[in-house]
Amino acid sequence: MSGFLGPVAPDGRIPPYQQTKVAAFLISAHGALARQFAFMLPARLDAAWQTELNAQFYRETEIVSLLLRATSWVVDPSLGYMFASWESAWLPAPVEGIADPRLAQMIHLAALAHAVHAGIRPAALLPIEANAQDPFVMALRRIEFESGRLLQAQILFLKSTDLAPHRDAVSAALAQRHAGVRKLWRELLESIGIGAPPA
């Protein structure tokens, strides 16, 4: 089992069935983040940190829009079941040890975003022979690069002194989210013949 997408076509393009599955997963994950950031975003901002919520919402939306347009889609009947299982995995989960529901929701969202931005590296799947001028290849590179930047907000929040009293609860929620997201990502990659790195 290869660690990379492919084998690529003579023009360096990624096979469309692989593009379809990878893009569907990323759209599901980043789309869920976009929806949840939109839900958290107040109509009128009353704190400086909320500007970051606005930025995160639009970056996630941009990723979805980019993939919709850059992917060479093919019909894949297995996606229906997979998409449903992914969507249910992104739903908010209670954070053990956090009584305040609003804080729990923020930790859930930050943990999910951390797991997606840190744990999913789509550009690392690209083989050397991938055509750098191909829109799907460029999209994966942009998403990974942008994820590294988006991640900074989650790192700042989850490491903040405000959450220091809840460090164990935060670490446990984050570990659970990382394990869940990586499991789904690994299963997806295995379904297209790619051996993903261990979780």
Binding site: H114, A118, I128, G148, L151, Q152, I155, L158, L174, P198
Partner: protein
């Protein structure tokens, strides 16, 4: 691929060379991974040493803690690896961040070691190193691992090494980019946020210590190595000519030879530190030359040392 367990974390390691032989343990720099010691594994095994390499927590195939990596955990992982090696003599060497972890191990568990070789190392964050570290961290955050590599390559390697690779730098960077994750590198860098200088504790290191410093290393310049030489009584400082911070990559054969000779001399009872300053040869096997008497080894121009 064998792993050690430290709490819930797994640490990937590799052992080469004859079982029961004196061992060398090599500790990675911050953006490195264990495969980069390939030249050393080969050279030191051929000289009769067992060689242990590993990925630090946050690197390569070892677990990558998601929010925090403490340097205490890195020392604990190193201790687990050294415990795997049995009761024979153990020589410990590390480059840069790995040198710092090796120093911490030697301060806490020095009796377990036969010898110590810190390379491109530091015991404290000088203002320059602190600000460079902050700038590199910002580079990682804003530009990702690839941009951090773009900064480190010209800082730490010579023109002679870089010139033939200028049109294939992407392939030079690729493996490091693949195995290192932004958040994990950031966590490694942020393990310095509560860093306390080791300088007051260096005198606890009594084991023979050879300090290696590249002639042109401006990330961790001579002054930082001088702190080690002055504070560690049984030490000597060896300057690697025409070398930068990452001389372990650029001059692997020369450095592996220096490591082997140091250990052979220690084991034969020939080695004496005397806090001396030496200049290594350009070639493996060449003689060490004493730094010219009366001249200041902290200067880049030949200035007479001030008399005490």
């Amino acid at each position: 691929m064998p792993f050690l367990s430290h709490g819930s974390y797994r640490i990937r390691y590799e052992l080469d060379g004859p079982t029961g032989a004196p061992a060398y343990v090599l500790v990675n720099g911050l953006t490195q991974y264990s495969e980069l010691w390939g030249t050393y594994r080969e050279a030191l095994s051929a000289r009769g040493f067992r060689v242990a390499t590993f990925d630090l927590l946050g690197q390569g195939a070892s677990d990558k803690p998601r929010l925090f990596i403490s340097q205490d955990d890195q020392v604990a992982a190193l201790r687990l690896l050294i415990d795997e090696l049995g009761d024979g003599p153990v020589f410990l060497s590390g480059i840069s961040f790995g040198g710092l972890i090796a120093l911490r191990y030697a301060i806490e568990h020095g009796k377990r070691l036969a010898g110590l070789v810190p390379m491109s190392c530091f015991a404290e964050l000088s203002p320059q190193l602190l600000l460079l570290g902050n700038a590199l961290r910002t580079g990682l955050i804003l530009g990702g691992t690839s941009y951090l590599q773009d900064l480190l390559l010209p800082m730490n390697l010579s023109d002679q090494w870089l010139k033939p690779l200028l049109d294939k730098l992407d392939s030079v960077k690729r493996q490091g980019w693949l195995v290192n994750d932004v958040y994990a590198l950031q966590n490694l860098m942020e393990s310095f946020l509560d860093f306390q200088p080791l300088t007051p504790h260096l005198s606890a290191i009594a084991v023979p210590t050879m300090i290696l410093n590249g002639e042109f290393d401006f990330l961790t310049p001579r002054g930082l190595h001088e702190t080690l030489r002055v504070e560690i009584q049984n030490s000597s400082l060896v300057i690697i000519p025409r070398a930068y911070h990452a001389f372990t990559l650029e001059k692997g054969t020369l450095t592996a030879d220096l490591l082997a000779r140091f250990a052979e001399d220690v084991l034969a009872g020939r080695w004496q530190g005397n806090q001396a300053v030496w200049v290594a040869s350009d070639q493996p096997g060449g003689e060490l030359t004493p730094f010219p008497a009366g001249y200041d080894h902290l200067r880049a121009i030949p200035v007479k040392r001030a008399l005490p």
